[in-house]
């Protein structure tokens, strides 16, 4: 659980070799990890070096051609495209999510729990339903345009749905809670006296924020950025539904390999490449945060 990293040093003090009972308690998690993380990844790894036959079945015939194809300029462009979208999403989520998380984290306990509940509520409905709801809000004859037209703020319906902007709206909407929650965790732990100390020492709100609050909530920011950026790169449903399927993201391309194109080995190679990319990003940022 990446967001827990901030807690690690505290736990380490009590570290001790788990006994048999400890391992037994641990077993379901290990089993789960093995069945749903390690095994599928291993299968994908093997597939990524295979070929497909006429029907699209995987043929075990070693080849690196899938990987050479990954680095074709078509897919590189899609990779950079996806990274751009994910980066924009992450930045907006951070800008929007930080103040929200901060507000919740500093609110009184009673209000805090209610606000947290509000952040969680969207998870109660299916992701697809929420996406369709956004589509009907943004559509040309939807309530947003209706309201703007009624208020005479615009003369003609805004063209939002099926544009890159709609994709970003959808991505931000979906991933915002994943930014808010870890930052909230950091903010909640933040000692109010430290903020007061900053004010006391002559720091205005801006300086106090940049010199004290941000550095002290960095673990939360870091976790939030990871939790938003990484899944956002691979997202495909939103690009299809809200982007009108025009902007292929790497997630769409991969999905296509397992669907229409029926080229599992190539899809696996794309997936493995992405996995490596994430691992590299993660290692790099971990080293950075260690150094800081």
């Amino acid at each position: 659980m990446t967001p827990g990293t901030g807690q690690l040093p505290e736990i380490q003090g009590a570290q001790r070799r788990p006994g048999l009972r400890g391992w037994l308690l641990f077993a379901p998690l290990m089993l789960w990890l093995f069945a749903f993380v390690i095994a599928p990844t291993a299968i994908m790894f093997v597939y990524s070096f295979c070929q497909r036959d006429e029907l699209g079945q995987v043929v075990f015939e070693f080849s690196l051609s899938n990987y050479t194809r990954v680095f074709d300029k078509t897919y590189l462009k899609i990779f950079t495209n996806s990274i751009q979208y994910a980066a924009i999403t992450t930045v907006i989520c951070l800008l929007v999510g930080y103040p929200v998380a901060y507000f919740i984290g500093r609110a009184s306990e009673q209000i805090r729990n209610k606000l947290l509940m509000l952040v969680m509520i969207p998870f109660w409905t299916s992701f697809l339903i929420r996406t369709y709801a956004w589509m009907s809000i943004l559509k040309a004859e939807g309530p947003l345009n209706g309201m703007l037209l009624y208020m005479q703020l615009i003369a003609a319906p805004l063209d939002i749905l099926y544009t890159p902007a709609a994709v970003v709206i959808g991505l931000v909407y979906s991933y915002l809670p994943f930014m808010i929650l870890p930052i909230y965790g950091s903010v909640e732990k933040l000692d109010n006296a430290l903020i007061e100390a900053a004010f006391d020492l002559g720091a205005g709100p801006v300086s106090a924020f940049s010199h004290v609050i941000v550095p002290l909530t960095r673990p939360g920011i870091f976790a939030g950025v990871l939790l938003v950026f990484i899944p956002a790169i691979g997202m495909f449903a939103i690009t299809d539904l809200m982007g009108g399927g025009r902007v292929p993201m790497i997630g769409n391309v991969i999905q296509n390999q397992f669907g229409q194109a029926r080229d599992w080995p190539f899809g696996a190679a794309l997936g493995m490449t992405m996995l490596l990319l994430f691992a590299a990003c993660f290692a790099l940022s971990m080293r950075k945060s260690d150094a800081a």
Partner: protein, 364 residues
């Protein structure tokens, strides 16, 4: 610790969502005792039938009617694309009794010997299938499959917004309609439309032919606002687009809701798709599958399907039971000069996919 609690909560939600997702994908296992293992001989109809079919394609009352009559419980699992169905079927692990592939998939499955031959003696209602669908190239003589519904890819126009006459693909993909077009999100489709426009056989998916149509596809992709195969009518009804190339069933629904929507069969060529029922090799309840096929071939049952999903009904007796309005709907029963059907293109699907992906990526 509160924050850890929150995150665990979140994680728990994610896991639950994941498991629920998994569960949906797991077909109900055939009941023990179903199928051939226990069945001694002739009347070996299993107690359960595992049906793997398109979503929103088989009316509920057809299934309940079948169960009521035969006592066979139907486990209806759905898919959204032929490829999805193929992936799951070929992955093995599940024994389906009845699948519903389109014609080019039937062809591929037959090639790979993945289908059970049908026992025509048990399909007493097979005679109801119209003559011109009995000898299609993908399965001559209906040895392995029985047509379920037939549809076309056609053009739907909002005549309130588009005043110029629209006859074919070339009238749709014009610069003046940029950003007002919906198209099926299917890479083979858009390439096929371009091939028809160029007068090329849609099944000659050679690198040369791909290269030839590439500029056309490139130009068209830039004009399209929405690619959607699941429900292209939505963008149309929402007012986000005014013209599009969609499934005839979708077009028929639009035409039924409002007179302003017109359905046009493209003059360049009508791509006909035939969805069929077929029995995969090794189906545990092939007997029950035959029963089901024969059941839906009854005119009164087939009519129920047409009422709900206004595609072209291949059942000549069922058509006689339809209302004149149903038969007049141009999207359901269009007049077509030359029909084209997709054949299996094997590995070329991969080249085609790459080309369209490339063009889509470049279009932005």
């Amino acid at each position: 610790m509160k924050r850890i609690g929150g995150l665990i909560y979140l994680l728990a939600i994610a896991i639950v969502a994941f498991l629920v997702g998994c569960k949906k994908d797991e077909p109900a296992a055939p009941a023990p005792g179903a199928g051939s293992a226990k069945a001694p001989a002739a009347a070996a109809v299993g107690k359960e039938l595992n049906l793997f079919a398109w979503s929103e394609y088989i009316p509920e009352d057809v299934i309940t009617g079948f169960t009521k009559e035969t006592g066979v419980k139907v486990n209806y699992e759905t898919y959204a694309s032929n490829e999805e169905m193929l992936s799951k079927l070929l992955a093995g692990g599940t024994k389906y009794d009845l699948i519903q592939p389109s014609e080019y998939v039937i062809e591929a499955l037959v090639k790979q010997n993945k289908l059970e031959a049908l026992d025509h003696a048990k399909l007493t209602n097979l005679k109801n299938i119209v003559a011109d669908l009995r000898d299609m190239p993908h399965d001559p003589g209906l040895k392995y499959s029985v047509p379920w519904m037939v549809g076309f890819v056609g053009i739907v126009v909002n005549t309130d917004k588009v005043k110029d006459p629209v006859k074919g693909f070339k009238d749709v993909f014009q610069d003046k309609y940029k950003g007002r077009i919906v198209a099926l999100n299917d890479n083979r489709e858009i390439v096929a439309w371009a091939m028809m426009t160029h007068g090329i056989d849609v099944n000659q998916m050679t690198p040369e032919n791909l290269e030839k149509v590439k500029p056309t596809v490139e130009k068209w992709i830039k004009l399209v606002k929405v690619f959607d195969s699941d429900s292209p009518k939505t963008a149309m009804m929402n007012g986000d687009v005014d013209i599009g190339v969609v499934w005839s069933g979708e077009g028929a629904i639009l035409a039924n809701t409002d007179k302003k929507y017109a359905f046009v069969i493209p003059e360049e060529g009508a791509r006909q798709y035939i969805d069929n029922l077929a029995i995969p090799k090794g189906a545990p309840n092939a007997e029950g599958a035959h029963l089901f096929i024969n059941y839906i071939l009854r005119p009164e049952v087939s009519k129920l399907v047409s009422d709900k999903f206004p595609y072209t009904n291949p059942n000549s007796e069922a058509r006689k039971l339809l209302t004149p309005e149903q038969l007049k709907n141009p999207a359901s029963y269009p007049e077509i000069k030359s029909k084209q059907t997709f054949r299996d293109i094997g590995k070329a699907a991969s080249d085609l996919d790459k080309m369209v992906t490339d063009l889509k990526a470049a279009a932005n």
